[in-house]
Each structure stands twice: as C-alpha cells, then as structure tokens.
Symmetry: C2
Subunit: 441 residues, 2 copies
C-alpha cells in the first residue's frame, strides 16, 4: 500500500442518493425507517473497511417530500444505534451551528464519541435551507456571512467545552474518595457576539478529545472556514479540473494559516452506477432517470438556481439568460456548479434535471468496476481528492456493487486498506488526537 | 394476575443511586462511561420484564462531582444505543423545556421512538439546577412559574409537531410516485408567548404517535402540570401517608380536568438494600453510609435546604430554626420533604446526611426480599403507588438482587407480569396510542 491512503465514507441517504431511488425495484421503501436497515448498511461498510458512515441533516422538511424519500433521520439517535451495531467504522453527523445550542451540541457529540469509543465526526454546517428559520422562532434565515460569523464563534465554544475536562480529570479513586479532580475541570466563561456559555461540560473528555471536524461548504466563506477549522472537507465537483482547483486552493489556504495540509482531507462526492459493461451501467443509470418525476426535479432546480421553469419547457434548452437575470445565488457554490454544467454541456431542461437527479450536483459516474476505480485513482493521484464520499444511487444494492466489485480493485492497486489499522475515526483519517490545549481554556 | 398491574422502571444513575456507590467494592468505576455496561443493565431489566429504563438529566455539571460520579450521560445518544441492544423495554429520557429548542427535541424523541419501535418516554422537566442558565446565555435561571409557563407552551408545540404528519401521510407508493401525501402533512404555525414554530416535523409520525409523557415535580406548579399533561409521574415520598396524600391529590386533579385517573400512573422512587436477614440488609446500608464523604453531603444539604453547615456541626442536631429563617425554597417539594424528615426523626446533621445519601430524598428501604416486597405491595394496594422507580444503591449488583429475589415474590403474589404482553412503552403502561388530533393541527 502506498504511504498515502485513500479514504472512503459511505454517505447514507434514506433510500439512496438518486432522487427516484425509492421507486427502484431494488429498493424496499418499507425499510426506510427501520434502524436495522441502517445498522446492516453500516456493518457492510465496516466489512469493507470504510472510514466512516455519514448522515446529512437539516432541521426542516423538504418541500419535495411528496415525490421522494426526503424526510430526515435525526443523526445523533440514528448514529448511536448504528454505533451499537458496529466496532470500528467512523460515525459522522451533520449538525447546525445556526439552529442548536452549543452546550447541547457539545454534549451530544461528546456522548457519541464516548459510546462509540472514539468514532464521532461533526459535519459543521450553518444550514442552507431558509425554511429552517420558521422552526426556530426567526422571521428570516440569517444571511450567509452572519451564519458563518456565528459558526466561527460556535466552534470555538464547543472546542473549549470538549477541552473543559483535562484528560486526567477523571480520577475515580475509590480509596481516597476523589471521583474527579476539580482542579482539572475548567469553566470556559465565554462571552462573545453570538454566544455566552459558562461551562464546564458535564461529562469527562471523550476518547478522541474532540470529534473530527468536517466541513462541506465551498463558497468563499466556506473555504475560509474550512481552511481554519476543518480536518476533512466534503465537496461537489463535476470535472477533474474543478476538483484540482478546489483541492489546491484549500490546501494552500490551510498552509497559509500554518496548518499541515495533510491534515485537511478533501473528499468529493461520487455516485457510481456500476455494470459489467459500460453499456449496462449506462442502461442502469437511464432506468433510474426514467423513474424521476418532473415535479420533483423542477423544485430542485428552483432551489438550486432560483428559477421557476414549467413542465412544457422540459425539452427546450435551459434559458441561461433567465438565470443570470432572475436567479438567486442563495446557495453560492452549488449555483456556480450548475451554471458550469449548463455552459459546458448545453443541456435541455430535462437533460439538466437528469444530470442533477443522481446526487444533487455531486459527480455521477457510470461504468464498469474498473472504470469507476480508474476515476477514483485518477482524482486521488492527480491532486483532486484524498478520498471520496461514496453516494450509492440506491441502498443497499448500490453500495454492495461498489464494495464487492470496486473496492477489491482499489486494494489490488494498493490504494485502499484491506483491514483497519486504527480504532478511531481520527486513526482512520490519519489525524492526531488533540490535547486539551491550555491556551483554549 | 390482578387486573391492576404493578409497573417497575429501572432508574439508572452512573454507579448507582447511593452517593458513595462508586466507592463500593461491588462497583467498577472504570465502566461508568462504557455503553456496554448500560446495555447489559437494560438487558437484565428486560429479562425481568421491567416496564422501562429511565435516564435522568440536566444540562450542567454538579458542583459535587469531586466526591461522586455525578457527571451526566446524554440520554438520547445513550438510550439509542441501549435501544439497539434490547427489544421490548421502554426508554425514558429526561429533557428540559427551558434549555432546548422544541423542534430539535421533537425530532430527538420521534427518532428514538422510531428506532426503538415505540418505546420512548419523555420525563418533562423545567430544569432545577440554576447553574444551567450560565450554559445557555442567561444571567439567571428563569423563576419557577415562568419555567412552567414555557413548559406548558412547549408541550403543546412538540405535541403538535408529533401530530403534524397524519398516520396515513407516509404513502411510499413506488408505482404512482407519491412518497408522502402532503395533504396530510401540516404546518403548525404556532406563535405564543415563549415560542414560534412553523413546522411540520421533518419525519413521519412515530410508532407510539407521541412518547409517553412523564413528569417529576411535586410542587404546586408541578402537580397542576402533571394533572393536565402527564401519563406517569415520578415522585419522592418517605411515608405511606405522604405517598397516599400525593396519589389522591394527583388523581383528583386529573379527574377534575376530565381525565381518566387510571391513565396517570404514580410511580414513587424506592431504593432497596436487600439482605438475607433484616440485620444483614441494615449492615449493608451502614457499609454504604461509611463510604459517604461529609463534603459531598454538606453540598447536597446546601442545595436542598439552602443552608450552609460546617463539618464541626455533624454530630449536633439539625438547626431547624436556621432553615426556617435562612433556607431558600428553590426546590419546593424536595425542601418540604426534607423538613418533614427533620421534624419526624429529629436527626443529627450526620444522621440527616446519611438519610439523604441513598437516593437524594427518595425512600430507602433495607430488609429481606419479603420485607421489600411487602413494602411495595402495601403502597401499591393502599393507594400510594401504581408502581415504582427502582433506584438500586449500586449497579449492577443492587439491581440483580432486586430482580433475582424481589421480583419472583411479586410475581408469586400476582402483582407483576412474568413476561411482556406488549411491545411499546404505552403498551406496558396500559396507555392508548393517541390519534393525531385534528383539533391540535
């Protein structure tokens, strides 16, 4: 195996990532709320020695739930039950800095890290969906810059809470009667622009010290935040060149801040349709596209581009100029990515809808196991990725094909581990366990 | 078995309920953060056909953690992992209406109910510990009445969120392409004095519809709240008469509101020291008291009575008049309970400390299995209890003695089930599954 190791997460979405996954004959919609289904998936990913399973999240209901399995599995409860069914695989949860209290969130992650013996990761988001605001007493979703300003303060606060018990604070000496050395437990006394939190946390420091910090926004604010705080970045790119540009930019930003760029992993999404021939893979992909529903896809376009198209325009060209004049750029980096697809490929509206149906802007590939492995190797070796968020079109079958057919090729090429050599997510990602910095107390 | 069935919960505290439990030779302090320890405990309680395990909580660190295992296990993560290791037993979590957001809390409970297939219960608290305020940006803990005012509104909001998907809303019809019937998913549009929440919840209605509503305050506000909302009440009483008065009062209040008093279970705490003779049980209790530390106990007295005593007063009488003049009544019902102990038993300070060391004011009994069973039967048959929160002095041994020696006696007397006849916590408690009331939408 090469010194540099590929990292692979299984990105779990109810039913799978293709918007029509739940309609596919290989999907059982009756199991989408069955914890056993997700525990079994995580066991399969663990058997393949994947780094982590990842559960995305958002504190509101998607308006297109009529046409797709777009409800939300609450990540802390779900991942705790998944932790109980696994031993090694990492457990990454999305959680919002805009719509949670830092004390509550710090507890949830510290507890997940304790009960999983060091496998927790936090995908730090500021929440993209504006409809979340109404569920939390706000008239309007805070603007992008304001959300990131709170996020920076929030990360500082929860980091200090995770460090508020020194590692040696838990004594539990039955003889002397000292359970905790309270000289080693510290209030944090934070008072900032957005938050006031006294601390300390109400449980001992967790196995990893802090969960792995993950970030997933590619906007200017997002990149700047990731360069400062993230240890892994989830990102969406359609082309090798786009992936390389992002990779180089992020690593340079981290280095400019004095960080080791090797401790900031870049992990693009990839959604693979796998067939024994390329034609078979393409036919499988087409079968999924046949199951899409225009009502759902048009809602997605409205969300990504701020553009209201109607069903009778489906087979005409995408009205590029309308987007320029009427589109909103609420979701900065994803907006840019879709515009690039339009410019590069000049699709019809239906073509664009199918282009986005697989993984909402993440890269979809269709090919033989060798072809998929080639793509992964190319990005990994050509400076576009340290690994991937694998986004199966449907579950569990779409994952099984990847694990059974692509992973062995990656192993034969010396790119991916054959077994775990660590027990924590930090260990899998090659990240050190952070000391409870006195400077942060 | 009699028509009326005794209900038994295992109230889990790290190490056990006696404040010195962690120092007892039968306790392994290295396992207090090991999820396997709690999963194993829950499996033992399930093997005994207990109704539920219960995890208390509070969003701050107790100031006496120096002397006892008083950190907090975050209940949602912990109970989700316990759910994964069990099949039938109920899972009750304390959660605060003062220091959480209703949308987040509604999701956590709905998810716990989904993944456990209908076993979630919510112990609704307004949070007693004033130091929590500093962890949530507040200068002061809101006063008692204000906390209950928010609690009432909070319960209404989360109830409506749990009902925001009708039971029939999840369609998942692969052929028609309708995943959710959005005509059966409703915004709640709540705007009140404390909260504004639009909804709907972002996942389908859970197996129980709503978690079981539990309440644990015995103040005037607490009783009034329980009579209106609770389906089970956790309470602390030292004497049969005290238990009977509370039981009668609460059932009458519920009846006066038009509720069926049989659907409001009263479950006092009981902490049993069990020996093969009464003398052996008392010796065991004394062994625990020997392990107590005055520093811890004096802090507890200060919290319960608002009274600062010093170590040199330990063997003198409790200065009753000082309490009257200087004590604070922050924790109303528990303050009254301790005053009653002082008046009834005229203890020394040390005696009072030992009296409270077992279960913080809950009833401690020491006796043979038959004597413990007698006490339980008396309270159950004499109108003081519908069941008990069993609070083992130490874990797991203190629970094993109860399960192995007391439970068989209760069964032989026809008081307690020999096996589950239901699969949900509502089923164990004899409570109906609530319909998603149109009136609440």
């Amino acid at each position: 195996m090469s010194a540099r190791t590929l990292h692979l997460n299984l990105f779990v979405y109810p039913g799978g990532h293709h918007e029509a996954a739940w309609r596919y004959h290989g999907t059982d919609p009756d199991r989408l709320l069955d914890i056993g289904f997700y525990q079994d998936l995580a066991r399969r990913a663990e058997a393949a020695a994947f780094d982590a399973v990842f559960f995305a999240d958002g504190p509101s209901l998607a308006d297109n739930v009529r046409y797709a399995s777009r409800f939300r599995l609450e990540p802390f409860t779900w991942l705790s039950a998944v932790a109980a069914a696994t031993e090694r695989i990492g457990l990454i949860a999305t959680a919002s800095t805009t719509y949670t209290e830092p004390y509550n969130l710090a507890r949830l992650f510290a507890s997940l890290d304790h009960l999983s013996r060091g496998r927790a990761g936090w995908n730090i988001v500021t929440t993209g969906a504006p409809q979340a605001a109404g569920n939390f007493g706000l008239d309007e979703h805070p603007v992008h810059a304001e959300r990131y300003d709170r996020a920076r303060e929030f990360v500082e606060v929860v980091t200090r809470l995770w460090d508020s018990w020194e590692d040696e604070a838990l004594v539990a000496d039955q003889k002397s009667g000292v359970f905790a050395d309270t000289d080693r437990i510290h209030e944090i006394g934070h008072s900032g622009r957005h938050l006031r939190v006294r601390g300390p946390l109400n449980l001992p420091r967790s196995p990893q010290g802090r969960p792995v910090y993950v970030q997933a926004g590619s906007s200017e604010d997002g990149r700047s935040f990731a360069a400062a705080h993230a240890e892994a970045v989830f990102t969406a790119h359609q082309t090798l060149r786009g992936g390389q540009d992002f990779y180089a930019d992020l690593k340079a930003r981290a280095a400019a801040l004095g960080r080791d760029p090797g401790r900031l992993l870049v992990l693009p999404g990839i959604s693979p349709f796998i067939g024994s021939t390329e034609a078979e893979a393409r036919a499988l992909h087409a079968e999924f596209d046949e199951l899409t529903q225009p009502e759902y896809s048009l809602q997605l376009l409205r969300r990504l581009l701020g553009l209201d198209l109607t069903a009778d325009q489906l087979d005409g060209p995408v009205p590029r100029r309308l987007i320029e004049t009427e589109g909103e750029r609420g979701n900065g980096s994803r907006f840019r990515l879709v515009l690039d697809i339009i410019d590069r490929e000049q699709p019809t509206v239906r073509g664009l809808m199918h282009r986005l149906a697989g993984a909402r802007g993440h890269r979809v590939v269709a090919g033989t196991p060798e072809q998929v492995a080639d793509q992964i190797q190319e990005w990994f070796e050509q400076g576009a990725a340290d690994g991937f968020n694998v986004m199966p079109p449907w579950l569990p079958g779409g994952f099984d094909l990847f694990a059974d057919q692509v992973v062995p090729i990656l192993r034969a090429r010396g790119l991916f581990r054959t077994a775990y050599d660590a027990t924590t997510l930090r260990g899998h990602y090659g990240l050190p366990r952070p000391a409870a910095s006195p400077a942060l107390r």
